[in-house]
């Protein structure tokens, strides 16, 4: 199980962005992490994968545990070898390299299983096999997202951390990505899915968290979350007759957890 306990993150020594975030991703489950822009979702993923360092950020309090062992002090390359793989926001494929080279790069830490994993990725994304030798920069946005996910899978992760995979994709493509996430999960990989598209995320997740300004403000099974009035209103865009303003519905229950 991947677990965050009361994690606090500070950027540049002064900007407090996460204020005690706690969440759990059980083995082989899909967990959705929702929240408005700037809530700290990406920061949460960075904290897990060890990429805070690049952004001059730091976990100042709390801990991140993988099966009970703390991992928030490890270097990113170590975290990858422990089985956590993040797909960064905005895809970030290496446009000059070929599709296959991108994938091979993903296998940097899992050299032995390279051929198996490559076969698996090509199985999941047949279009990548067709375009294996062409330049990754020429792929369409959706294909690039597939490549980014495929590349993350090349390290044989136990947990896949996805940062807004539906960003900028047409509905049909979102559908396809969604099905692939389900399939990856079915094959035994746990998924932490950060999304703006709550509809998509909640339709496949087992559990969901909602973040706002650096805190988890809601924590429910996905099905319940999808029924929640506030979530329906702000994230699913389904509201009743009165158009609620943000101010007068801000009455989330805040859960008291561990230390905070």
């Amino acid at each position: 199980m991947l677990e965050l306990r009361n994690v606090e993150v500070v950027y540049s020594d002064v900007i407090l962005v996460l204020r005690g975030v706690s969440l759990q991703v059980p083995d082989g489950r899909i967990v959705a992490l929702l929240g408005p822009n700037g809530a700290g979702k990406t920061t949460t993923l960075r904290a897990i994968s060890g990429l805070l360092d690049v952004h001059n950020g730091e976990v100042t309090k709390g801990e991140i545990l993988l099966d009970g062992t703390p991992i928030h002090t490890l270097a990113p390359q170590k975290v990858v070898t422990l089985g956590l793989s993040q797909v960064l926001e905005g895809r970030r494929i290496l446009g000059e390299l070929t599709v296959e080279e991108n994938l091979r790069l993903g296998a940097h830490t899992a050299r032995k299983e390279l051929e198996e994993n490559l076969a698996r990725v090509y199985d999941l994304f047949p279009v990548l096999e067709e375009r294996a030798r062409s330049t990754a920069g020429y792929l369409s946005g959706g294909q690039q997202q597939m490549l980014a996910i495929g590349r993350a899978l090349m390290s044989n992760p136990r947990y896949l951390l996805l940062d807004e995979p539906s960003l900028g994709l047409a509905p049909i493509m979102v559908q396809q990505i969604r099905d692939i996430i389900v399939e990856i999960n079915r094959q035994g990989t746990g998924v932490l899915l950060v999304e703006q598209n709550a509809h998509m995320a909640l339709s496949i997740a087992d559990h969901g968290y909602v973040m706002e300004t650096g805190k988890v403000v809601m924590d429910k099974p996905a099905a319940e979350l999808a029924q929640d009035e506030d979530v329906r209103e702000f994230y699913l865009g389904l509201h009743g007759d009165e158009v609620a303003s943000f101010a007068n519905v801000k009455h989330y229950r805040r859960k008291k957890r561990w230390l905070s």
């Binding site: 990113p76 960064l88 970030r92 290496l94 000059e96």
Partner: protein, 658 residues
């Protein structure tokens, strides 16, 4: 007629002409003949200007899709006016110079002899007239180029290229002719280091024009018969790679033997080219592959040279009883020293990026040089006196290494064998996978490589020329051969590294450090590895440099060296192994290195000027380099790439070279 454009181009042309003359380039080349008494290369440097600007003044920029305006007779007039303006500006310079001799205080090149030359032995007024008229004629030619039938243009361009090529290549052609025992042929065509004889020039021009028209289309036919393929299928690409391999091996084997044909000067030039290829390949790993801009690269070159020098020299300041090792005995130590230096410099700076890294490495490069120069380290490295007699051996007058072509062939043979074995492995992978169609032809090539490798190795080993350890004495051909061996090794290492796991990791770091980290790449060690690999290749160059010169001084390792190496890499094409070779051939071979002369010796101190002009021109017109790696070209032409992607066009350039 677009008068604004004509005047503008004319003035720019005039400034260009005046510049070439005023800095002294014209005079510097005045004594190098192209065609013996008729044409000096100084005039060649000047004559092209009105033609080009005449052409530019009449050319219009045509937006995509618009119809091109047909060339018309008025273009000739426009070109003539442009050329006349350019010529008149130069004429004015001559007039001013003769009227006010004190301009010489600032511009030394504006000497009375120059005025004399540019006024053709008459009054300056006469000179002004002739220059203006000449400019007009040349400009008219430039402006009217599109009006002339294509056949004529072909003939003229062939004549120009042939004559210039043979005139400037006199050193090469003459050397080869003489060593083939064809001295009389040499004397027939050349006026002994004074350019072509007029009759020789005419004969060559006629022969080459004839050849051009007789052979027209023949090459294409031959090329088509070779199954090179033009489409971008996997198969074609593999075939091309195979041809490349085979040609490369043949070229290397020929290169091992070739120095016998060359005279001293050409051997010297070629080993300088080799030296800079070696250095360029090393820097290419750091800058081209890993994207770390290292401006202090010369430090590793210095470390290699000094290590080689203090262990081989009988006058080594570092030891009371100098070890006086042989070149190959000291070589492992050189590599170790360079690797340590790489770690030493790399560790503190590796976390910096981009400009910061460049500045800090620049500093470190200077620190190393000043350390070698310092009194503090004088007991080790001899301070400003440096280390003398590097590569001298007891009882021998001039020490070093003789490398016979036997050794070179054996080395090339071994590399070929390794390549063959690597391919064998690749073929096995393919058998297991799905690309079984490649097997059909890649196997014969693999077998061919293995057989050729074995043959070259055995032949090299048994040939009387295989003498490594104990033959002393250094002569240019052997210098060239050992450089060739090192270059082959460096190219092989670069090539294998590029396509390896480490190579991909470097490229990932170059493109997106965060992604690289996310992929589980250890940024620090991977970058350090690039530094160390680059340092080791540079130290090989340093070792060669030490035994070649025999004496090593700190001032041989100034910043200029780093910069020239970087320019070689940039001009050739960053990240491209072939590019580095082309870059070194063009820059070091033709123009010359920072202290080494090239084929055009006359450039002398103007070399840096030409480097600068070339660099600016490259950045504007061909930022990806002369022979880029396909990837780098893409990156720099992203804009077009995006448009292509948008229009759904498969780019033609994709994967042309690996």
């Amino acid at each position: 007629m677009d008068w604004g454009k004509i005047v503008r181009q004319g003035l720019i042309g005039g400034v260009a002409l005046s510049f070439i003359v005023a800095v002294g380039l014209f005079e510097a080349f005045a004594n190098r003949m192209v065609i013996d008494p008729i044409l000096t290369s100084g005039w060649v440097l000047v004559l092209w200007v009105p033609v080009v600007f005449g052409y530019r003044a009449t050319r219009q920029v045509v937006p995509d899709g618009a119809t091109v305006r047909a060339a018309r007779p008025a273009d000739i007039a426009a070109g003539a006016v442009t050329g006349a303006i350019a010529g008149a500006v130069l004429g004015l310079l001559v007039v001013i110079t003769s009227a006010k001799p004190d301009v010489r205080d600032t511009l030394l090149a504006l000497s009375p002899s120059l005025v004399q030359r540019l006024s053709f032995g008459h009054s300056v007024g006469y000179g002004f007239g002739v220059l203006t008229l000449g400019g007009a004629i040349l400009g008219a030619i430039g402006g009217g180029i599109d009006l002339v039938p294509q056949v004529v243009r072909r003939v003229v361009s062939t004549v120009v290229v042939t004559i210039l090529g043979f005139a400037f290549g006199e050193l090469v052609v003459g050397d080869i002719l003489r060593s083939l025992g064809l001295r009389s042929v040499d004397q027939f065509f050349y006026a002994q280091s004074r350019g072509l004889k007029p009759l020789g020039a005419v004969i060559l021009a006629v022969v080459f024009v004839a050849l051009r028209f007789l052979l027209k289309g023949k090459f294409k036919a031959i090329r088509e018969r070779i199954p090179l393929g033009t489409g971008e299928t996997e198969e074609n690409r593999a075939t091309r790679r195979n041809w490349f391999l085979v040609l490369g091996i043949i070229a290397l084997a020929a290169g091992a033997w070739a120095p016998n044909l060359f005279g001293l000067y050409l051997n010297e030039v070629l080993s300088n080219v080799g030296l800079f290829i070696l250095l360029g390949l090393g820097l290419n790993i750091v800058v081209g592959f890993a994207g770390l801009l290292d401006l202090g690269y010369v430090a590793f070159f210095a470390v290699g040279a000094y290590t080689m020098a203090i262990f081989t020299s009988p006058a080594s300041p570092a030891f009371d009883a100098p070890p006086q090792w042989a070149f190959f005995q000291a070589l492992p130590l050189v590599l170790i020293a360079a690797a340590l230096a790489g770690l030493f410099i790399g560790t503190p700076v590796i976390r910096m990026r981009g400009d910061y890294l460049a500045i800090v490495t620049l500093g470190f490069g200077e620190i190393i040089r000043i350390a070698f120069l310092s009194d503090w380290l004088k007991p080790l490295f001899g301070g400003a006196q440096g280390v003398l007699q590097a590569g001298f051996f007891p009882g021998e007058q001039r020490g070093g290494i003789i490398v016979q072509w036997g050794l070179v062939l054996a080395t090339i043979g071994i590399i070929t064998l390794i390549v063959g074995l690597l391919r064998l492995n690749a073929t096995r992978l393919i058998t297991a996978g799905k690309m079984s169609d490649i097997r059909a032809y890649s196997q014969p090539v693999t077998i061919g490589l293995l057989v050729a490798g074995a043959a070259l190795t055995i032949f090299g080993l048994v040939s009387p020329g295989f003498a490594v350890w104990k033959i002393y004495g250094i002569e240019p051909p052997s210098m060239f051969r050992i450089t060739l061996v090192f270059v082959a090794l460096a190219a092989f290492v670069s090539w294998r590294l590029r396509d390896s796991r480490v190579g991909r990791a470097w490229m990932a770091i170059r493109e997106d450090e965060q992604i690289a980290q996310q992929m589980g790449i250890n940024i620090v060690t991977t970058k350090l590895l690039a530094f160390v690999m680059g340092a080791m290749l540079a130290s090989l160059g340093g070792a060669l440099f030490a035994v070649k010169l025999g004496s090593i001084y700190p001032h041989s390792f100034e910043i200029m060296q780093s910069i020239i190496i970087l320019v070689v890499v940039i001009v050739g094409g960053m990240g491209s192994i072939k590019g580095v070779m082309i870059g070194a051939l063009v820059l070091i071979g033709v123009l010359g290195g920072p202290t080494q002369p090239g084929l055009l010796r006359e450039f002398g101190e103007y070399k840096l000027l030409v480097y600068g002009v070339l660099l600016i021109w490259m950045m504007l017109k061909r930022p990806e380099g002369l022979w880029p790696e396909a990837r780098r070209a893409k990156e720099l032409h992203q804009e077009e790439m995006l448009q292509d992607a948008w229009l759904n066009v498969e780019p033609a350039s994709e994967g042309v070279s690996g």
